[in-house]
Symmetry: C2
Subunit: 333 residues, 2 copies
């Protein structure tokens, strides 16, 4: 295992210490229980936004805490759900009196623990809504998931819901934005290589030198199929086709096209995929009005990419364009 | 070779087509000869800023074209210098009448070709200054370089010089900012793995599973030493010690600390390195007043990191904080 780490069991804590040292203007980090809090939280009258999940997907979620996005993130161990006490403490810490939205990726552990935390927070008088993202069209049910997995749409939901909360929309209104992203976003990913969880010390799965896996999950969960490596254009078609046909996206609609890197794939390759995905979307009659290209929801050092399409309307466009300033995503502030 | 590409010889052109499709608000791409131009260039009365070099280091340089940074970037083939005609056309395209600054990383091919382009541009009546970055303290002379290699400081130079040019400083003044970064910036890098140039098809060098290379260049050029893999803290010490002692940086000085990923190393590891680098700088008596953590000058999918220290003064601080909006680096606009 070749990694820039000290002891495998210290990876998350030491990473968070680095985040705290690098971004004191944006975030504060607490360790018992562990959560990343927006530096100026709680903000009176603003809906608090929380997400969380296993570590190893950075910059998601801790890198998305700050102005215009999340108020707190709860990181678990690598690829392991955080615990209810983390989510409860974070919920209390971001509560500015307007309620708290939990944005939860559809993994059984995350759902169960966020539900428990929501119950406990409600018992303390905090209004909590939860929206579960489940945009991955690759497989129905999976390792650790009943139903579809929550992947790339989560990043987009955190961005637009964060903007809606900054506008002081109500909890129901911010949750409605999240439900719209859940309804209108679809994703699919693929891997060229596996990745190694530090405390495991060996690759999560084996993938022969001439093979790839289509439809893989962000923890290396099995996808749809393994096959011989193909060209970027062929791979992009294999990802776009099921995404386009699932909602389905109709000619004339406006979309955001998000090409996400799984961690080990450099920008040069992501833009080659973007080029083809843009062409396919355009041929399908869609108008690509916004985009995001880069590693935003990753699987450690896994090589590969995922594609997310999100249907846009005027409100989502404005929320997407609103300023954001976080360690991992920033513009306009 | 596992990459999301089509034909190896099309990698750079197809990447640039993707960049053009994704960022038409920020850049235009020309292909004969090849350069990435700021969408609203030339800007009358503003010094034009150009850099360039082999591809494979993205987001540098094409990802840094836009408001507050470069006016054009000239990408060569992967790890191969661009040609003088690219630089000449880019120089003419960004010339707004206030002269053009070439920011050149110290590699023999880059230097030679930028010099030729500068001569040709001057012959056409364009005032051109060149500053060569050479911040890598690892080795004196190297494969493709006489003297020190230009690495991480180049990113910082492009940011602060871009801000200075936006303020409508003169060519000499913008070049002076670049010379200050050259004088005050020092870097050193290391690799855990090699990388594969697409048109070569096999790794640039071999590095056994339990070894790393300290002082490596951004094209995989040999560094100072190969040794058994050590902990992140030990590696960070090995990078920081020669950087700190080279200038040398003195107690009480303010610095920017830049922890750069080589491409294949995820954020979780970069922040572990940042944590230790910040601690070492602080123990040395330095005040870390700004930072940058992420993959900004990369070597394709190489795993590893580099550390750059830049001494700061009030002017550099203001220039660093100024808004920037490019595909690869953006804040405040």
């Amino acid at each position: 295992m070749k990694k820039l780490i000290n002891k495998p069991e210290d990876v998350v804590v030491e990473e968070l210490q680095g985040v705290a040292l690098a971004h004191p203007d944006l975030v504060k980090v607490f360790y018992d229980p562990t959560y990343v809090l927006r530096a100026n939280a709680p903000i009176k009258g603003k809906v608090g936004l929380i997400s969380g999940g296993g570590s190893g997907h950075e910059p998601m979620h801790g890198g998305f805490v700050g102005y215009g996005m999340l108020d707190a993130a709860c990181p678990g161990a690598v690829f392991t759900s955080p615990t209810p006490d983390q989510m409860l403490e974070a919920t209390k810490a971001v509560n500015g009196g307007a309620g708290v939205l939990h944005i939860v990726k559809n993994y059984t552990g995350d759902i169960m623990n966020f539900e428990m935390a929501a119950e406990l927070a409600r018992a303390e008088g905090i209004e909590v809504e939860s929206v579960v993202t489940d945009d991955d069209v690759a497989v129905q049910d999976s390792l650790w998931t009943a139903g579809r997995r929550g992947v790339g749409s989560t990043v987009l939901a955190e961005k637009v819901c964060g903007a809606a909360a900054e506008q002081r929309r109500s909890l129901k209104e911010v949750a409605d934005v999240c439900r719209k992203v859940k309804a209108w976003g679809r994703s699919m990913g693929m891997a060229l290589t596996s990745c190694t969880v530090p405390h495991v010390g060996k690759p999560t799965f084996d993938l022969p030198e001439d093979e790839m896996e289509i439809g893989i999950g962000i923890h290396g969960e099995p996808g749809r199929t393994r096959m011989k490596l193909k060209t970027a254009d062929e791979i992009t078609e294999m990802l776009m086709e099921p995404v386009l046909n699932d909602l389905p996206y109709k000619a004339g609609e406006e979309v955001l096209l998000f090409v996400n890197g799984m961690g080990g794939t450099p920008p040069i390759e992501l833009y080659i995929v973007y080029r083809k995905a843009h062409e396919i979307a355009t041929k399908h009659g869609l108008k690509v009005v916004r985009n995001l290209v880069g590693p935003y929801i990753t699987s450690l050092e896994m090589a590969g990419a995922s594609i997310t399409l999100l249907k846009m309307d005027d409100d989502l466009l404005k929320l997407w364009d609103a300023p954001v300033k976080t360690p991992g995503l920033r513009w306009g502030v």
